[in-house]
């Protein structure tokens, strides 16, 4: 009896289970669950859809004024296509536009300088506070204590210059670039007519890696190839430019200027060339006496025949160009070098080079005492109580950044930038500016609304200026768009170029002294990645995707060292190094042995090792500028950081 019951229970249970399963199967649930599983494993974010539009806008970031077309999905900008698609910002602009660390509102410092403790404030409050500080200084006749640092000669830059000058200070500086150096050394920046030349000799100017205006350079490069223009690159390290050039003349580190002087010597002595520029006699005397070809060739490592050949090609060319200004984005050259190279232009009597100077927006009488020669000079030798920093990052980019930071801690600093950068860390106010895509352009085409409360830097400056008792009168405009027509103008230099024999006299001795130091046997030469440049690009994650494994890889910055030198100093591939100059030491970079750098040279990438500038740039590698030479150049007043001697350990 029991037995039967047990069996029956088994049957009941079995029937129930079997039935349940059948029902389950026929309900379609198993199939659906598989389908659900498939969808669930596609755990993806779905971008919001919308109507596709292509909007045209004038990019007014640089004088080039490219026409850019922006692909919009609904109200989102998803792609930038620029007419000549070669803007150094170009594709990365979107990454700035939608950067999660964009500054939303004006920020006021709450913590100590150097910390990123800020509190949001309203525009009015910020403007009032800033303007009151400036007005107070002007009242106490301390207008000279007002200073400004611009990124480059842009609309907002000129507006800021106007504001500072109008308030009675002459302390307006531009981050050291090929233009600023030229202004100091030559009395105006050289405008090269790359379009109509037939021969280019570039002394260390990496023309195809972001030097000057990359837009135009790329276009010129194509034309050169078409027209068979000869590009001769005088350079120390092998780079894209040297490889793409028709000829690469390898010189010892830092001897570009000497080579130029040697050529000058040859042209003056043997070809009887002269230049109309003032002080030529004195200058040429020194050149003839101190720079005989034999010596030059021994210093530069270029044999005499080559030098002559080079000089001949120069004077045989119909419309040659000799380009000065070593580097690509970060440029540094001594005035002697600039003058020597520019001197070659005058000796070759080329028509393709002219000196220009920024016209500014109408002359403003400056009562203040004469400014320092250049930014680095100012940082080193002057004091300030109020400083405006417009889109620039001197704390990071200047070799004297640390000193500047110290001075900033005592002063009142206003920094205009879309992202918190190293300079902003030492500012009392950080005012959010916009990317090129935002806001209206001069055709009043507004593509994207400015992000949160950010404004065009020009508008910010106008806003401040209008609150200044002294400067307000010189600002009639209501927006930077109205001011735009007057901006970006250049005028011919009245004074013209003049040789300076004084600085040339003991150039050679200084060079020998520099080379003579046995303690620092190697030269530290910067290597730049086109997109990272001298640091601006690093905040954009997609830029990081372009970095190759011998520049920055898995948390380590790589430096390039020539094979022979590696044997000499006992360095092996991938070894961790410290680089020491007389200014200090940067630690734990990895060595990559390659012959693309010259013997006794350490090639170090620029643009790494930010203190701030978003988490994508923060704490990546080291900032080579920290140990680079801060020897000031008398004329351009910017440190000649290209001439840095180091040792490795």
């Amino acid at each position: 009896m029991k037995k039967i019951e047990r069996k029956d229970f088994l049957l009941l249970g079995g029937g129930a289970i079997a039935g349940g399963l059948t029902g389950y199967v026929f309900s379609g649930a198993p199939f659906l669950s598989f389908q659900w599983l498939v969808e669930w494993t596609q755990d993806q974010y779905v971008p919001t859809k919308g109507e596709e539009k292509y909007l045209q806008k004038l990019c007014e970031y640089c004088p080039n004024k490219c026409q850019i077309s922006i692909r919009m999905i609904g109200d989102r900008a998803v792609k930038v296509e620029s007419s000549n698609s070669c803007c150094p910002l170009g594709q990365a602009t979107l990454q700035l536009l939608y950067h999660p660390e964009r500054i939303k509102t004006p920020l006021k410092r709450t913590g100590s300088k150097g910390s990123d403790k800020f509190a949001p404030v309203s525009w009015d409050e910020a403007m009032k506070d800033i303007s009151s500080k400036v007005n107070k200084l002007v009242k106490d006749n301390k207008a000279d204590m007002i200073a400004a640092v611009n990124k480059d000669y842009s609309l907002s830059g000129e507006l800021l210059e106007r504001m500072i000058k109008a308030s009675g200070s002459a302390n307006v500086y531009y981050e050291s670039s090929e233009k600023t150096i030229a202004q100091g050394a030559l009395g105006g920046f050289a405008e090269y007519d790359f379009a109509n030349t037939d021969c280019i000799i570039s002394f260390g100017a990496k023309l195809l890696e972001g030097w000057g205006n990359q837009c135009q350079m790329n276009q010129h490069f194509l034309n050169w190839k078409k027209k068979g223009v000869k590009l001769i690159q005088v350079d120390t390290n092998c780079s894209t430019t040297t490889s793409l050039a028709d000829e690469w003349i390898a010189v010892k580190p830092g001897t570009e200027g000497i080579l130029a002087l040697g050529m000058a010597n040859y042209l003056i002595k043997e070809k009887g060339r002269t230049s109309g520029a003032p002080n030529f006699a004195a200058w040429s005397q020194i050149v003839i006496n101190q720079y005989p070809l034999a010596k030059v060739s021994q210093l530069t490592g270029v044999d005499v025949k080559k030098i002559k050949e080079l000089a001949d090609t120069l004077i045989q060319a119909r419309n040659p160009i000799v380009v000065a200004g070593k580097g690509s984005k970060g440029v540094s050259s001594s005035s002697v070098e600039m003058q020597a190279v520019y001197g070659l232009n005058t000796l070759a009597r080329t028509g393709a080079v002219a000196l220009k100077a920024p016209a500014g927006m109408g002359a403003i009488a400056t009562t203040g005492k004469a400014p320092a020669a250049g930014l680095d000079d100012f940082i080193k030798n002057r004091d300030f109580e109020v400083m405006f920093v417009n889109e620039a990052d001197p704390v990071y980019k200047s070799v004297l950044g640390k000193n500047l930071a110290e001075k900033m801690e005592k002063a009142f600093v206003v920094s205009i930038t879309p992202l918190i950068n190293d300079t902003a860390l030492y500012s009392d106010y950080v005012l959010p500016s916009i990317s090129v895509l935002e806001g209206p352009d001069s055709n009043n085409a507004e593509i994207v609304k400015p992000y949160k409360q950010s404004k065009h830097a020009g508008d910010i400056i106008i806003g401040v200026a209008k609150l200044l008792e002294k400067a307000a009168v010189s600002f009639q405009w209501n927006s930077c768009l109205e001011a735009m027509p007057g901006a970006g103008q250049t005028k011919n230099v009245t004074a013209g170029f003049a040789f300076n024999a004084e600085i040339l006299k003991n150039y050679l001795n200084e060079y020998d002294k520099l080379m003579g130091s046995t303690e620092f046997p190697m030269a530290l030469l910067p290597v730049e990645l086109p997109y990272v440049g001298d640091g601006d690009g690093l905040a954009f994650p997609y830029v990081l995707k372009t970095i190759d494994r011998h520049t920055y890889s898995q948390g380590k910055l790589w430096v390039l060292i020539n094979r022979e030198s590696a044997d000499k100093y006992g360095v092996s591939e991938g070894e961790s190094l410290d680089i020491i100059s007389e200014r200090g030491e940067i630690g734990s970079v990895k060595a990559h042995l390659s012959d693309i750098v010259a013997p006794d040279v350490v090639g170090i990438p620029l643009g790494f090792g930010h203190l701030a500038y978003t988490k994508y740039a923060e704490d990546k590698g080291v900032n080579a500028k920290e140990i680079m030479s801060d020897k000031l150049d008398p004329l351009s007043g910017s440190a000649n950081w290209w001439a840095t001697r180091v040792k490795i350990s």
Partner: protein
Amino acid sequence: MKRSLFFIIPFIVFAYLSLILFQRACDYTMNLQAEKRLPFNHKTHLTQYGADCETCHQYYDNGRFKGLPTVAECTQCHDRGGEVHNPDPTVPTKKAMLDSYKDTDKPWQAFAAQPDLVYFSHKVVMTATYEDGRKKSRCGSCHGDKAGSTTTEKIKGKMLMGQCMDCHTALHISNKCLVCHD
């Protein structure tokens, strides 16, 4: 005999129960009951008010499909200011529920809605024709008999890739991944 019943009865009972239970579960997961449903009648719109599919389901200029109409588009006909009752059936009247209604609480989940990883172009499919100019596909071929439907209720289940591929095969259309996937 008696013993076999011991098996059959629970079998039937449980089969039925679990069938109902799991079907409910499926319906629930596929969210057939939308939180806010518009009493929209496809049939009357098409038959009496002389609308056709394109009237409400339009294309962008670049050929992309706009998808479901927004409230704004509805109110173009059903004027917010218009009177609620109109003897003439052809005149669209004011619909009170449209005032309380936002595009965001759109209840529909189209049966044929494609996931993001499918690049489906209504335009291309609807333009495809035979030699004699007959259209190769109509709305019905994927969306079922919407024209006859009197509600916005979606067809049960989800359209699968198989359905697309069968059609492609039948019409000698390429079935390569890149035809629809990016």
